[in-house]
Symmetry: C2
Subunit: 346 residues, 2 copies
DNA sequence: CTGGATCTTTCAAACGGTTGACCTCACCCG
DNA sequence: CGGGTGAGGTCAACCGTTTGAAAGATCCAG
């Protein structure tokens, strides 16, 4: 009769290691954690480390967390993952967290999920703190989470009224840069498509756009939308192209919106870029470079934003002060085929 | 002097509730968990529940997990989130997990992260099981995780040789359906673009494609690529269009690849769909509907795949048997503007 | 009024680590 | 030779829950 494979290798505990190395569990714990307060001879240290490696011991985070009240886990609330601009943020968050020994638990913002859902991540001791990257949650919702969650909460890529901590990029400057770029190409009437008018991120983008328009002495026609998707970009662009067909360029607040603009242009018979230039904020080269035509974008340091957000959150979890971080830089224009000189007026 | 806001509301514990309700902590525990083995008078039950609500008590998952060796958390390994086709899977996984009281911890597959990284989620007792949705990890890599992780691991959207458990959709049938659809439009030479030739998912899609090509008595020219991105689709399509310009339709294995095909077509001067039809597997309407032209796709029940995967994993974590699940259905063709009748030969 | 039987409640031992305090030597110095 | 010192290690309590078992309370029949 063949030996049945063991049902499941039991997890290796501190005690197992201690027994194998013939020392007290506390000694193992101190070696594993490099506790400087208690000395262990080099010989036993080696013996312990050897057994740790040999048995493949890994401390149980739950038990450790119980004692130290640290879970080594960060909660990350974000909207639909379908938006390609979240990819670099997630990568930044994941990488930084991983490097510092933290895990990430996902809190997708799925239709109609209440603030309590996210606050309970904190209440249940599942996470040490919460990152909120959703740019479509209402401020109240986020304040509600903060109110009921016993732990730090840091908004990412947006600010929330009354909440000091946050990590953002300079959306305002980037939007302005896009406008100046277009103005530099000779465009004199520029369409602008913005997000939900009550959300900080949308407000800052719009502000940067409008100020630059004034500064560059060009004209503009702007439209707000209650979301950031391709559909929002599409309907907004249709509206602009119908109401003000003289526009020769359109600025969109997000990559997906830019997608919608391209389609609207095609449907309205506007060739891009000869008759209409299109530019948008936030790049994801895996997508934007393969559109027809490839989309000109303003790249912002979003991966860094993710990393810094994790840093700030950990800092706060360890008792650090509230801070607002704006990552410097006005972005980099990635010029692709969707933008070009304004058509010479006839 | 104004009162300083409390530094942080301490977490409410079982003992706090017990003290408030003047009962033993164990009574609270049993009420909270509806333990049927021990009875509690209706009066005290009410008193306890009242205090629970009043204090906002939520059991600490870490402590509970320590005792019960269940973390109520599932690990989810997936590649870059930039791929819009993962969105529905993630949504399915997240929703189902949430409904069953589980949390999701993310394990992004970031360049050069070793199997150990993922296995340690299990070893550290962070999760009860692991879902692996990456269609670009090598089989060995996944077997390695399974080998070292003390807990169930379920591949999603792919099968792994030697691993029975998995959840997939019928990629083969869906690919075949795409081919028959094109054949039905009169296309007689169809290009096929596939993923990494050693990955099960790519193999099944290719198989379905080739069998349908034979069945429909049309010809084909196929290309394998070592990944699934727009760039892979782009280079593959260029190659096909150059080597076999007579093709009148191209099938791409993923949405992003389809994107690349559209761009290649534009660059080669092939109008879509009048001179070249394009279709791809897996839909994400937030993207595909806004391309120029909107992309015809085959939609598969990927959200359900995510849900079923969670179900199977939980089942396995509770001691259930290994099972392979294929979600029925050959997909639904979402006909958009990128496909049409074959150009009539001159 | 007494002795189960039954219902309600409490006790205490885990789970796997961490950590302040304590113990035991050997060694050194005056 | 006594005592101080420091290195090397162990003890035991604790973190917040769960859960088998025991203890108390209540009730009913004899």
């Amino acid at each position: 009769m063949t030996a049945r494979r063991a049902r499941r290798t039991r997890r290796v505990t501190l005690r197992d290691v201690a027994a194998a190395a013939r020392v007290d569990p506390s000694a193992v714990s101190r070696v594993v954690n490099n506790d400087p307060r208690v000395s262990v001879s080099e010989a036993t240290r080696q013996r312990i480390l050897e057994k740790v490696a040999q048995l493949g011991y890994r401390p149980n985070v739950g038990a450790r967390g119980l004692r130290t009240s640290k879970t080594w886990t960060i909660g990350f609330v974000l909207p639909s993952l379908g938006n390609p601009m979240y990819e670099p943020i997630v990568r930044g968050v994941e990488t930084e967290a991983h490097e510092r020994g933290y895990g990430i638990v996902l809190g997708s913002q799925i239709e109609g999920r209440s603030p309590g859902t996210f606050a309970s991540l904190l209440q249940e001791g599942r996470v040490d703190g919460l990152l909120v990257a959703s740019s479509s949650l209402h401020d109240d919702f986020i304040r509600d989470i903060i109110e009921h969650g016993p732990g730090p909460v840091v908004p990412v890529n947006r600010r929330v009224e009354g909440v000091k901590s946050c990590v953002v990029v300079n959306d305002e400057a980037a939007s302005a840069k896009a406008v100046h770029y277009l103005a530099g190409l000779g465009h004199e009437l520029i369409g602008g498509i913005f997000g939900p008018s009550e959300i900080d991120t949308a407000i800052r983008r719009k502000k940067g756009f409008l100020e630059a328009v004034a500064e560059a002495s060009v004209s503009s026609v702007g439209v707000d939308r209650p979301g950031w998707t391709a559909e929002h970009g599409y309907t907004a662009a249709r509206q602009i192209l119908r109401d003000a067909p003289e526009v020769t360029a359109i600025y969109a607040s997000t990559l997906l919106m830019g997608l919608g603009v391209l389609r609207a242009a095609a449907e309205e018979g506007r060739a891009v870029p000869s008759s209409l230039s299109v530019i948008c904020l936030h790049d994801n080269p895996a997508v934007s470079a393969y559109l027809v035509p490839p989309l000109t974008t303003v790249r912002l340091p979003t991966e860094e934003m993710g990393r810094r957000a994790v840093q700030l959150l950990i800092e706060r979890a360890e008792g650090g002060p509230e801070r607002a971080i704006m990552i410097e830089g006005d972005g980099e224009i990635l010029e692709r085929a969707s933008s070009g000189p304004a058509p010479t007026s006839r």
